[in-house]
Symmetry: C2
Subunit: 347 residues, 2 copies
């Protein structure tokens, strides 16, 4: 049985077992949860992209360094701020020279566990990083040479690249920048009370949050929000039962993955976002059209599942979602002091 079929079957099973569901006992609920969700790993390493300490540290430095973008004032951390849980808090990101980004900045936390970008047009965090370095919106420099020229103006970077990529004859490359940024991002995982719960500590969730978990399962949210990231693993049409923009009040209609594939099956299709830290990462959806989490939950239930969620159910589901908030990773909340160097002459 495929994973999806299995999930669908378990939803049916829950409904079938309890058509007017009584409160599941704690052991049963935990057991169900363990079938559906998985606790976070300590990092999202890749065999061919080792997360060595020097490589992660270089990536962390580059992540916080604004000096490789056109006006030297935008870094990865501009749209993925630690203070805002790896987001910018905006509906849609603002890039270099005020250039508008077409979609909402998702949190960088746990991002290596998900399909990357709302339309899935990035293969990995490394692919995202290298394309961001070449993007007119997020970077603005004309080419790789211009990026490397900026690096060369900061003498302190050479030994850090050498330590991160000791086997490379020329270690200061845009490819290695992206590998290092990716390695860093693969360490940004945020174990939460819910992970403690999955590990067997039932009281890591409040009774309200446990009621929310039960409701989250029985309502069918788990059809998409499952696994380690509680989402992030599949594409889905946004607005299965109703045009999404009517529910969200979106000012523009984004065709989603269709614009990437030109396949009509992908019209209004987006990646399912991870729900980890969702309580800390407003506003919601690909266009940041919804500001409050309870509204986002109600809209999802309605347009994806055809369920008009009662307020009491919304409340407990939100309490459950709040249990997905983890601690900021120490190497994200703590900023590296960068090698000194001014890169742009005064105008």
């Amino acid at each position: 049985m495929s994973r999806l079929h299995w999930i669908a079957a378990s939803i049916v099973a829950v409904f079938a077992a309890a058509p007017a569901p009584a409160r599941a006992d704690d052991a049963t609920l935990l057991s169900q949860a363990r079938e559906i969700f998985k606790p976070l790993p300590k990092d999202v390493g890749m065999p061919d992209l080792p997360l060595t300490a020097p490589r992660v540290e270089l990536g962390r430095m580059l992540f916080f360094d604004p000096r490789f973008t056109i006006d030297a004032n935008i870094s990865c951390a501009t749209c993925h701020q630690p203070a805002l849980y790896g987001t910018d808090g905006l509906a849609k990101a603002i890039g270099v020279q005020q250039r508008p980004h077409p979609r909402n900045s998702p949190t960088i936390l746990n991002s290596a566990l998900s399909i990357i970008h709302w339309r899935g047009d990035r293969e990995s965090v490394e692919d995202q990083a290298i394309k961001a370095l070449a993007s007119p919106i997020t970077n603005g420099l004309p080419d790789e040479k211009a990026v490397l020229d900026r690096l060369a103006r900061i003498p302190g970077y050479a030994p850090v690249f050498k330590a991160a990529f000791p086997d490379d004859a020329a270690s200061m490359t845009v490819q290695n920048m992206a590998k290092a940024i990716g390695a860093y991002e693969r360490t940004l995982v945020t174990p939460s009370p819910f992970d403690a719960y999955l590990a067997g500590n039932v009281n890591a969730l409040s009774p309200t949050a446990r009621a929310g978990l039960e409701k989250f399962i029985s309502t069918g949210c788990i059809a998409c929000h499952e696994g380690t990231a509680m989402g992030g693993s599949m594409f889905r049409k946004f607005g299965v039962l109703e045009d999404y923009w009517k529910a969200t009040g979106s000012q523009t209609i984004d065709k989603g993955r269709f614009d990437v594939t030109n396949n009509l099956d992908d019209l209004y299709v987006f990646r399912v976002p991870s729900l980890r830290n969702v309580a800390m990462t407003a506003p919601y959806f690909h266009d940041g059209s919804v500001m409050a989490l309870p509204d986002a939950v109600r809209i999802m239930a309605r347009v994806q599942l055809g369920v008009m969620l009662p307020d009491a159910d919304t409340r407990v589901i939100v309490a459950f979602l709040e249990s997905l908030t983890g601690e900021l990773p120490p190497n994200f909340g703590t900023i590296p002091a960068l090698p000194a160097g001014s890169v742009l002459p005064a105008k």
Copy 2:
């Protein structure tokens, strides 16, 4: 004898005692240094602005929160980034909606020890904060009400303000925002190897740095760069012996404090910047016109003191200045996770 007269007298004394100065012995040099400079205090508290932990923590949160500026994407930390030692690394700051700031962003580190702003048109860090909240360049919101309206959209702030200002009936005010930001900034001091030296550990400075200290004193730099902040305590004309813009290559001529006071004596007058962390805070001068520290040192010697500094002297002075780099304060390098809340509807 006033402090300035005393400093002038001691410069004369150094020259008089050693017209072709031999290397001062370590005890003599330390003793001279202790007369001229003072080690950093642990903070820059004010009796009427107590640095209580809740007030400092509120200020820290506000410092890193971009949601009170017009597009909700610029915070104090945009121009005063921890990764860049409390600067933005730019010649001149870029404000909200790409609005240009007329001068270079000085580091926020140790700023409470200095005259505030290049032209001294801010009375204190608190005065700077409240004026930044009202500025079209750094904030862009129309008035205090608009700032408070943003605060009100983030429910998590109310208890933090209450804890920071427990005696105020209405604690969420722009005045209290500024007091809290100021309290936080007053804690951002960076003890350095030079402070360890002043405390008596001669080996905290390398022999080269000690030679640089001796040269820094004998060249006359201490006429302005003295005291706790090694600068920051007085105004001086930039370009005593030569128009500054000819030396710096400045593209525009800034009249400095004259534009504040309309007093001809203030033409081209700026505050003397603190030299603490100067090796980490390029580019240099009020307009960021000079990118490299050795060039800045040479220009200062030439246009302020009429000294054509030999390369060997420049090198040892730079080594001394590098000893003024302190550790990032833990509450600056570590970012607070802010209360959740989206403040602007999607467009």
